[in-house]
């Protein structure tokens, strides 16, 4: 096939992608010169061209912080727990919803479980501070059951768990939606054929439904690795206090506090760049692993 023959057929594909390319070039790539502030002592008045260059100093400062180990591991622990809980929970919920046969019931439940997603952390944080306080509704409820009240927000034993479970509760319903969409693509005929062959309900879930949404699961898991250093800035900022810095202080909240003392554009830029590299690296790695061991391309 000559190039001319190829283009005769394929030209619409290039026309289609042009608008997307232009937007991304203009609004994402063009401003990327801004990453240079990670290597500068940036001053808005001097601008990107005029600010002094300081090499790796911002990175060195960040990595040599006495808290670096603590905030880095807190970030990873919280974020990985959240990713796992969210993905597993969303798949299970989607399967359970898929098994509920009454359409009206299913629709109602779907609508309700995605409600928390619409409350921002600022709003939700204020409510959680009340609900989870020592005399709050949660402690009253478990107290009525004879369980000892806990300081959900004030104790280093509980804080991470509180962050992870409230994050799960807020997002899982919404994450379910993608899997529900993926489930609709599974051919019902496969189920019927399997049923005729005598496959029970759980065998069918295991052998038909799950493989049917496997590409989506792998894709979402891989993409969520890109956010592995985002443990939920707004959520933790509204919920934490100095007493739980040990278990709950993450990279973003720490950098935020540094910025409160003096505007640290360059430090924030360096940390952002670091997080992007880790995220991009993990996505590339998972792409390669999926291709190598599962035999398909997620991207």
């Amino acid at each position: 096939m000559t190039f001319k023959q190829y283009m005769k057929r394929a030209w619409p594909l290039y026309v289609m992608i042009v608008p997307g390319l232009i937007f991304v070039l203009l609004f994402r790539y063009y401003p990327m010169y801004g990453v240079v502030i990670a290597f500068q002592d940036f001053s808005p008045a001097k601008g990107f061209a005029g600010s002094p260059w300081i090499g790796w100093e911002n990175f060195e400062f960040f990595f040599s912080l006495p808290e670096f180990g603590r905030i880095f591991s807190n970030t990873l622990i919280i974020s990985i727990s959240k990713i796992v809980a969210d993905q597993v929970g969303a798949v299970i919920l989607a399967l359970l919803l898929n098994e509920a046969r009454r359409i009206l019931f299913r629709r109602t439940i779907q609508t309700l479980i995605y409600l928390p997603h619409f409350l921002s952390w600022i709003v939700l944080g204020g409510i959680l501070l009340d609900i989870l306080s020592a005399g709050g509704i949660l402690n009253q409820a478990i107290g009525a059951l004879g369980i000892k009240p806990q300081l959900w927000l004030g104790s280093n034993d509980w804080f991470r768990g509180t962050v992870i479970s409230s994050g799960f509760w807020k997002n899982v319903g919404f994450s379910t939606i993608v899997y529900l969409a993926a489930l609709t693509a599974i051919n019902p005929v496969l189920h019927e054929a399997a049923a005729i062959d005598g496959a029970g309900r759980f065998r069918r879930i295991w052998h038909i439904t799950l493989p049917g949404i496997r590409p989506t699961i792998v894709l979402l898991a891989a993409l969520s690795l890109g956010d592995v250093l985002q443990a939920g800035f707004e959520q933790i900022l509204t919920l934490y206090s100095p007493a739980v810095y040990r278990s709950g202080d993450i990279i973003d909240t720490f950098v935020y506090r540094v910025g409160l003392i003096s505007a640290q554009y360059s430090l924030a830029g360096a940390v952002g760049l670091f997080k992007s590299f880790i995220g991009f690296g993990l996505i590339v790695l998972s792409y390669w692993l999926a291709d190598r061991y599962a035999g398909y391309r997620i991207l």
């Binding site: 001053s43 927000l153 003096s262 505007a263």
Partner: protein, 594 residues
Amino acid sequence: MSKKFPYDTADLKPSRRDFLKWSGAGMATAMMARFGLAPILAQNMGEIPAELHPGSPTNARGWTTTLPPIPEGMPVDPPVTITGSRRGPWEFADGDDIENSPFTRLNAAVTGIQWKLAFNWTDNEGEVLQKYNLAIASDELPDFMETVPLQVYSELLENDLLEDITDVYEEVAHPVWLKEAMSFSDGIAWRLAEVNGRKMGLPYIEQAAQNDKVLWIRQDWLDAVGMSAPTTIEELHAVATAFKEADMGQGGDGATLGIAANRQLNTWYCSLDPIFGAWGVMPTFWTPDENGDLQYDSVRPEIKEVLGTLRAWYSEGLLAQDFFTFAPWQNAGTHIGGNLAGIMYSPAFGAVYGLPDSVANDPDARWTFGDIPTGPTGIKKKAWSNPVPDTVYCFRKGFEHVDLVLKQIAWWAELLQNPANRYHGFEGTDYFWRNEDGELDPMGSTLDLNGYDSTKHIWGPPGTNGGSRTDPFFETNWIKERRDVWANTPEDERDALMEAFLGGDPLSVLWDEANVFAVDHWEADGIKNHFLTVPTRTMERAGTSLEGLEAETFINIITGQESLDRFDSFAEEWRSGGGDRITDEVNEWWHGQM
């Protein structure tokens, strides 16, 4: 104020008799005398069209605002347009907006200045910083910049982007409304705006003693346990314990707290700063030691004693089990509004923040305020609230009309800050006349002062901004005017405004009294933070770690998770972790100042 706890909501039936009584109590009126109260004759009033005039002269029960004389050479012709940045947004009446409101119309008629909005911001945390930095980065600074944050201010100074207004100021600035009004507290007003003897902007000035604490306490609970108001920390402890043991609060069994506190030990509401002050120290403050050097109070040994005291209180259940997760605004709701605590250290405005909910939820609640109790060695101190926050009003380099802005400031300052002029805003903008059914009524019988803030629609220079004046005693002077002059006006001669205020609810009256009280004790009882400049190099680098260490350690000691002796190792860690270097840098600045 020699007597303690003179005011109490039960006494505050705001009748004329009470006001006469208070006004006869010999309150200092020196500050008012400073500006003189004789209404200035409005020789130029004819030049201002009647429809632009503030006040309610056409209402049967209205009042007349006296406009100061129009400054020399004004209104300028042709009119001048000046761009400015400001805080917002406010709500405006039909068709009005931030550039065209009763204020801007009157201002244009008086001065010939038309203000144009460059950008504005809301109270959102950090928003003001973003907007200024974006304006700098895009090289579009407004002519006049309202409340420039410290970080931006030093950036502008370093890059020579600000107009030096020293000479114009000397020549044009009003001798009373600017020069004299801003000379309080050894000239602290100019601590940021003046650099190397040159004025690089105008100070932002808040009300004196705005955040200075008084002790708020439930009088009805005191009566119930048969105790009187505490005058020492020991008595405070006894009263708090009695409240807790008698379980006076509205919550479930045993939910009553001794004293309301939150995650910040030295803060603006439900603070514990007067307890530290009772030992003569103030966490996070830099104070002079016996050698005249600045020392960081958080590592002084007295702190350990206070932490030990609070630790004991916490273990006795006087502080909420989870007080250290609370934000100040949560105290206002849950602890005060919910009537769980009957004692708090809060500013005068505590009367109208938290207490209204408390009284609404428990009609028997009677709050009173008084002086802060003294410590074991008789010390009585609290955090001195600086009326000059870390912010400055600036002019763009090359801006040619600084003189006009200074003249506008003086005119408005005189209009607003001289109570005798009786400027109280614009009808339909910040107050309304209403009839008995609550409907708007041009000849109405009652005045609705909801959200009353005589200056919130005004923009431009200091003295005309919602939170700022040129005189930190403006609010206090105004309270005294009401108490000493309005209350002495025979009832049948009072206009609607006087009546609306004199008939105000007891808590507002309590607020006024607490305000005057706090101002009277402002200089004598305050511990001042003497470090008043941009963060030092090491603060930028190590400050966050040190602050975190301090906050974490103090809370852990109070809650018993770490031993009291942990304080000693903390102080050591603080010093070696950068604290010593910060102390050197701070003192370098400090001695360079003198």
